[in-house]
């Protein structure tokens, strides 16, 4: 029983950064912008988040600095792609390279330092329930927040006027513009929101996952988050399932290795990527007949004419 509990706890810990980053990117892509710089914003969030927490002694301040770092980087992306109508793929890649480099410079002086990891918040009463209580109600703040975040995003996208406008902008920016909605402003907000989420996801790693910072510690999680958004076909509900599936695979791969199951660990690790390709093919095939697939204006540059 204890091993199962430990595995579930480690799956939750592995899934949380994926969920946080992917939730932000989902909103960005729903607004019609493809920001491939998630990995760069995450690693900046990790470096600045750790720096903030180390200098202030507070996890909360660390999380806020992480968010700010992610947003700052995403603002650069927004200036280029929204303000100057630059190609989003190229700008996103530049963002990743820049983020990896800058985080290395910022984080260099913090390598080898340790902080107190984020405290686990025990919900009174509920956390005393055997097994389930410890798994569900004794997590750190990041885990609770990630779930709340996705619920909030779902509510925003499907139950508010703002969400409807955001989806309209993502599906047809010309129509939304013709109706008088400020396409670029809405996209700017979405990009900043996505940057903040990616920064927080990155900050989770040194603040809660491991209590120290190492350069490049995001290790491709930003790219997995991008895959997740596609995998979930841009639906918040599926995003949670997908994040936990991807998280579980990454943990099971470690255990499969330890148990000597004879399956190459590389095959296990590659499953999420292969699954993403397959899902992408299936949902693209269904386009036209079934409804919800990629936002129609995804990645298309928009220059309003006056």
């Amino acid at each position: 029983m204890l091993i199962v509990e430990a595995i579930i706890l480690s799956v939750i810990a592995a899934s949380t950064p994926l969920l946080l980053a992917a939730a932000g990117e989902l909103v960005v892509e729903r607004s019609g912008v493809l920001n491939l710089g998630v990995e760069g914003m995450m690693i900046m969030g990790a470096a600045c988040g750790f720096a903030g927490a180390f200098l202030s002694g507070s996890t909360f301040v660390g999380a806020l600095t992480g968010i700010a770092a992610g947003m700052a980087l995403s603002f650069v992306f927004a200036v280029l792609t929204l303000g100057l109508a630059v190609n989003q793929v190229a700008a996103g890649l530049a963002l990743t390279i820049l983020g990896i480099g800058l985080s290395g410079l910022i984080g260099a002086s913090f390598v080898g330092q340790k902080i107190v990891p984020a405290p686990h918040l025990y919900i009174p009463g509920l956390s005393d329930i055997p097994v389930a209580g410890k798994i569900l109600f004794a997590q750190d703040g990041f885990v609770y927040f990630s779930v709340l975040l996705v619920v909030g995003i779902w509510w925003f996208l499907y139950r508010t006027r703002g969400g409807l406008i955001l989806r309209a902008v993502g599906d047809s920016h010309t129509s939304a513009h013709a109706l008088g909605y400020p396409v670029l402003k809405i996209r700017l907000m979405a990009v900043l929101f996505g940057g903040g989420c990616a920064g927080l996801a990155g900050a989770f790693l040194p603040l809660a996952y491991t209590p120290f910072f190492i350069p490049g510690m995001t290790a491709g999680r930003g790219w997995i988050a991008l895959a997740l958004v596609v995998f979930s076909s841009w639906l918040p509900g599926r995003l949670v399932a997908g994040a936990y599936l991807f998280g579980a695979v990454s943990i099971l791969q470690l255990h499969a290795q330890a148990l000597g199951l004879g399956i190459p660990s590389q095959l296990m690790t590659s499953l999420p990527y292969l699954a993403t390709v397959i899902v992408l093919v299936i949902i693209s095939r269904a386009r036209g007949s079934a409804g919800s697939v990629a936002p129609a204006s995804l990645g298309v540059v928009f220059v309003p004419d006056r």
Partner: protein, 359 residues
């Protein structure tokens, strides 16, 4: 008051020429500020970065060795991007080229079979890269799946395939358990063409690719087709150009070139197949392609310039203790400025009052 973009009536030729230079100047200014913040003398650091590597024959050769894969991959990518096809998985195609090409080197290891071997390896490497690139191309043409995401996902799969092979079936039995194949035989190695360095015959192949691409883009129907489909898809349809066929074609070419670059790298400077054969060449090549504005000659210059930053960065780390990460920052910032300045070719920035004019 508000800043807005306004489409120019025609491309500005002056800015088209000035924009890369402006981007480089802006980058140098930004990096100098960053160097000051790091407590280093910017002028001394920039000298180590950009001038010192040019003063020594060995580092000059190293620049060519480093630029060769970047240029070769970027040429292929530029064909894709010109045709509005977004292959960003060149890193995976590079690795699969290295893997398929290495197969012969691994199975013939120890039996000196003759110099034709390396030629066959290069062909197999190009085929391997092309086949790997064919997957996202077919997904796009047959199912409409976004090629940006599929080609990117396959990078990780390729990396894991190589990882499996060099840790499993292809591992050097005498390699002390290190994840690497046995060193390639001389007959499976791309020969060095100048003494005293690592300058290899692959550099000549890259130069040939640049010339062929320049001729193809400027002088053939295929090149015209690529540019028309990218610039004006509707006009291309009326002209009878099949965009699906072009997706397959550009993916195959760029995959083959990335694969060729991969096997040349492995059979040349590296000499074994092992994890980490590429310090992100496939991704850096995207910067090279844009920095060279998708023009073969421009890409050659851009590739040499980025190679210079790599070599200069290594030098700066040794002599001035400047972190290697600064090279990445430099490349990211440079690409940002290049993209931003390029946007000025098509648009002008206007400052307008909050009251829209009714003219």
């Amino acid at each position: 008051m508000q800043l807005v973009l306004e489409k120019r009536a025609e491309r500005s030729t002056f800015i088209a020429l000035a924009s890369p230079l402006l981007a480089i100047v802006l980058t140098l200014v930004t990096i100098s500020i960053l160097l000051l913040a790091l407590g280093k003398n910017p002028l001394a650091a920039l000298y180590v970065y950009f001038i010192e590597p040019l003063t020594d024959p060995y580092t000059l050769m190293e620049i060519a060795v480093k630029a060769s894969p970047l240029v070769m991959i970027a040429i292929g990518l530029s064909l894709c991007y010109l045709a509005n096809v977004w292959n960003i998985g060149a890193e995976g195609q590079f690795i699969m080229g290295a893997v398929t090409g290495s197969y012969l080197a691994v199975v013939t290891n120890g039996s000196d079979v003759g110099h034709w071997l390396v030629i066959v390896m290069l062909i197999m490497g190009a085929l391997g890269g092309a086949l790997w690139a064919l997957i996202p191309a077919i997904c796009r043409v047959r199912f409409g799946a976004n090629e940006i995401l599929t080609s990117l996902m396959l990078v990780y799969v390729a990396d894991l395939i190589m990882d499996y092979l060099v840790r499993g079936p292809w591992r050097d039995p005498k390699g002390m358990n290190f994840p690497t194949t046995a060193s390639f035989d001389p007959s499976a190695t791309v020969p060095v063409i100048l003494d005293g360095g690592r300058l290899h015959a692959g550099v000549i192949v890259t130069l040939a690719v640049v010339v062929i691409a320049a001729v193809m883009l400027g002088r053939t129907i295929k090149g015209f087709e690529i540019r028309v489909v990218g610039a004006a898809p509707r006009a291309a349809r009326f002209a009878g150009f099949k965009s699906d066929r072009l997706v397959i074609f550009t993916f195959l070419i760029s995959g083959a070139l990335a694969g060729l670059a991969g096997i040349i790298e492995v059979a040349g400077p590296v000499g074994v197949l092992q994890p980490g054969i590429s310090p992100g060449y496939g991704f850096t090549a995207i910067i090279v392609a844009f920095l060279g504005r998708l023009n073969p000659l421009g890409i050659l210059i851009a590739g040499l310039f980025l190679a210079l930053t790599f070599i200069g960065g290594e030098g700066a780390q040794i002599s001035m203790k400047i972190p290697l990460d600064l090279t990445k920052v430099f490349q990211g910032v440079l690409l940002f400025y290049v993209l931003a300045c390029d946007s000025l070719i098509l648009y002008r920035i206007r400052l307008i009052g909050s009251q829209p004019k009714t003219a």
